[in-house]
Amino acid sequence: MSIAGNGAAIRAEHVSRHYQMGSALIRAVDDVTLEVGAGEFLALLGTSGSGKSTLLNLMAGLDRPSAGAIVAHGRNLSELSSVELAQYRSRTVGMVFQSFNLLPKMTLEENVELPLRLAEVDRSERGARVREALERVGLAKRATHRPSELSGGEQQRTAIARALVNRPTILFADEPTGNLDSATGESVMQLLKEIQLSMGMTIIMVTHERPLASRFADRIAALADGKLVSDGVAA
């Protein structure tokens, strides 16, 4: 169900991603068509190797499909140059990973500032934007700490702040609770849900935990062997 019903944020049209492994052709994603509405929270569910992360990477502009098209806000990603695709990753989407991927030698605020540097946001604006993002995830007081000084949950919150700092319209999360205990995972999921509701953020989350997906996502699309096997409202 599209929460606001206000059009598609991103759409995959007959998307395939094939890899050649020796003589074998691996069909990581095979002819998937999927549409995610603006402000919708979609969970991509599947077992390991089902192709859910590959599909996420394609939609996040980190990879290009072998066939088919990804259309985000009316723009076909296949037609973008690598520089335009980098700008898409920088300004249109935010990305959260299972293993947080914070840069260990940087403090939290430096980590969160990184996308602003890449997007060439004016230096005078950055401080306020970083504070705002850290406040949103409840870590403003730990801005000068390094990631190693934080718990897993706090690190993932920082990663979420980093993903939000450039004010994207779509947030991609690849197994965001995969490295967290259930209680911490729960709080991270609540944070994501809150961001969806308060900011009208479109969230596409890859997970293999159906209960989590059922509780927080609006819709669940299940993949198996690269194919979309089910697509429906979360229970």
Partner: protein, 468 residues
């Protein structure tokens, strides 16, 4: 990414692997130091050689002679005065094929005003009789300009150079000194008498009457003169072994050397005076030749050309200085190549360090790309890191090169002192070498960073993020 952000990130990354990057930077510094040291040696030796040659008076002087009549451009009534002009050395060319103006005082002033001319002086040489201890000795006297004080020819002087430009003093050539005494060194401090023929100009109408000694160079009149015997007491102050710059530069060919200013005031009759009478050159005194001394041998070519444009014949050892420059250009190039070898090795160090950094920072590159870094940003980041290492290496390298130079100069001078030789600056680090060394280091480092940077930029973000 903006330049400042790029710089900050590059510096941060360099700090994170401080030891490795410091060692790489040190490698570059050693390379630059060897290059700077080699080139400083080349430059220093060149300066030393040039200075020594300048001191010899051979390479920074232009002999100027009047060209009139030499090739038929002069007055038709005049016979060739080639011999009289003493121009057997001349390399006169038809550079400015026109009548040469007289080589008189106004020409001397004009020559003095040419850029980069240090001094202009005439060759004064005249036959004389020296009386010493009651005995007469026939010989030649030559005027020596005061600037010859620093001349290499007077380095080994027994006694002293003239105490001043107007001192009534003489320096004897050692062979002549031996004629005067069995113990030449005992001559120093003693007086001798110079007997010479003073030229006295005749009055305008009263040619043939006796002297009306006007100033030397404004002998208005028919140009005739009378000759009056004169005597001059001179104190012997030094004895030189070699005839200084014999046969060239106007200094040589004299066995009794006296200050040029003193020689000029004597108004002694010279060979070209006879020529002036024959020529009837408005009664003005002309010089057989003038010696023009340039600031440095490198200025000789321009000065010579300017003098030729004035209509005079010139002679210089320009070809010799040109060959010297060619020699040093080749010498410097060879030293530069040897010096660059160390820098070439250090560039491999940069390549190695950055390639290792790519492997280590694979995941970081993936994160940067996922956060919106374009290939160009990643490439620039690695470039900036290589550039910073090059800049730091360049600065340290130039400093090290300078220190090496100081050390070698110190060592050389210790050796020279032991050999009873004067100290020498064998190293010279000019400003262009300092900046050139740093710029070259940065450029070489950037070239070394080309491959690692483009390899990092090409990394597939999905694969990079998967890398553990």
């Amino acid at each position: 990414m903006k330049t400042r952000d790029l710089g900050e990130l590059a510096l941060r990354n360099l700090r994170e692997a401080l030891l490795r990057n410091s060692l790489t930077t040190l490698g570059i510094a050693v390379g630059v130091a060897s290059l700077v040291a080699m080139l400083s040696l080349g430059v220093g030796l060149q300066e030393l050689a040039t200075k020594r040659l300048s001191n010899s008076g051979l390479f920074d002087t232009v002999i100027v002679m009047s060209r009139s009549g030499l090739r038929g451009f002069g007055r038709s009534s005049e016979p060739s005065r080639r011999a009289a002009a003493g121009s057997d050395q001349s390399s006169e060319q038809d550079h400015a094929p026109r009548v040469s103006p007289p080589l008189d005082d106004s020409a001397r002033e004009a020559l003095q005003k040419l850029p980069n001319v240090v001094e202009v002086y005439p060759q004064i040489r005249f036959p004389t009789e020296v009386r010493f201890a009651g005995k007469p000795y026939a010989t030649m006297v030559a005027g020596i300009p005061d600037s010859a004080r620093g001349n290499g020819a007077f380095d080994g002087i027994n006694g002293n150079f003239f105490s001043g430009g107007n001192a009534d003093e003489a320096i004897l050539q050692s062979e002549f000194a031996k004629d005067l005494s069995d113990k030449p060194s005992s001559l120093i401090g003693k007086d001798l008498v110079l007997r010479y023929a003073e030229r006295q100009a005749l009055g305008t109408q009263a040619a043939g009457t006796s002297s009306s000694s006007g100033t030397e160079n404004v002998d208005n009149g028919s140009g005739g003169f009378s000759v009056v015997p004169r005597e001059k007491n001179l104190r012997i102050v030094g004895i030189v072994d070699t005839e200084p710059a014999a046969g060239f530069g106007g200094i040589g060919s004299g066995r009794v050397l006296i200050p040029l200013a003193v020689a000029e005031t004597l108004r002694a009759a010279q060979l070209n005076d006879l020529r002036d009478v024959v020529r009837g050159a408005n009664g003005k005194t002309t010089y057989a030749s003038l010696t023009v001394r340039a600031k440095s041998p490198s200025q000789v070519e321009k000065i010579e050309s300017a003098i030729k444009d004035m209509g005079f014949s010139t002679f210089s050892l320009l070809d010799a200085t040109r060959n010297l420059r060619i020699f040093f250009t080749i010498f410097d190039s060879l030293l530069g190549i040897f010096g660059s070898l160390a820098l070439a090795v250090s560039t491999l160090g940069i390549v190695n360090t950055l390639v290792m950094a790519i492997l280590e920072r694979r995941r970081e590159i993936g994160v940067l790309k996922a956060l919106g870094a374009a290939d160009r940003d990643v490439k620039q980041l690695f470039f900036a890191e290589a550039g910073v290492m090059g800049l730091m290496g360049g600065i340290f390298g130039v400093g090290m090169g300078w220190l090496i130079g100081r050390a070698v100069t110190f060592g050389t001078n210790v050796y020279l002192r032991r050999q009873d030789l004067p100290p020498a600056h064998v190293f010279s680090v000019p400003l262009w070498l300092i900046f050139g060394g740093i710029v070259f280091s940065v450029v070489v480092s950037l070239v070394a960073g080309l491959y690692p940077a483009s390899r990092a930029a090409r990394l597939n973000p999905v694969e990079a993020l998967r890398y553990e």
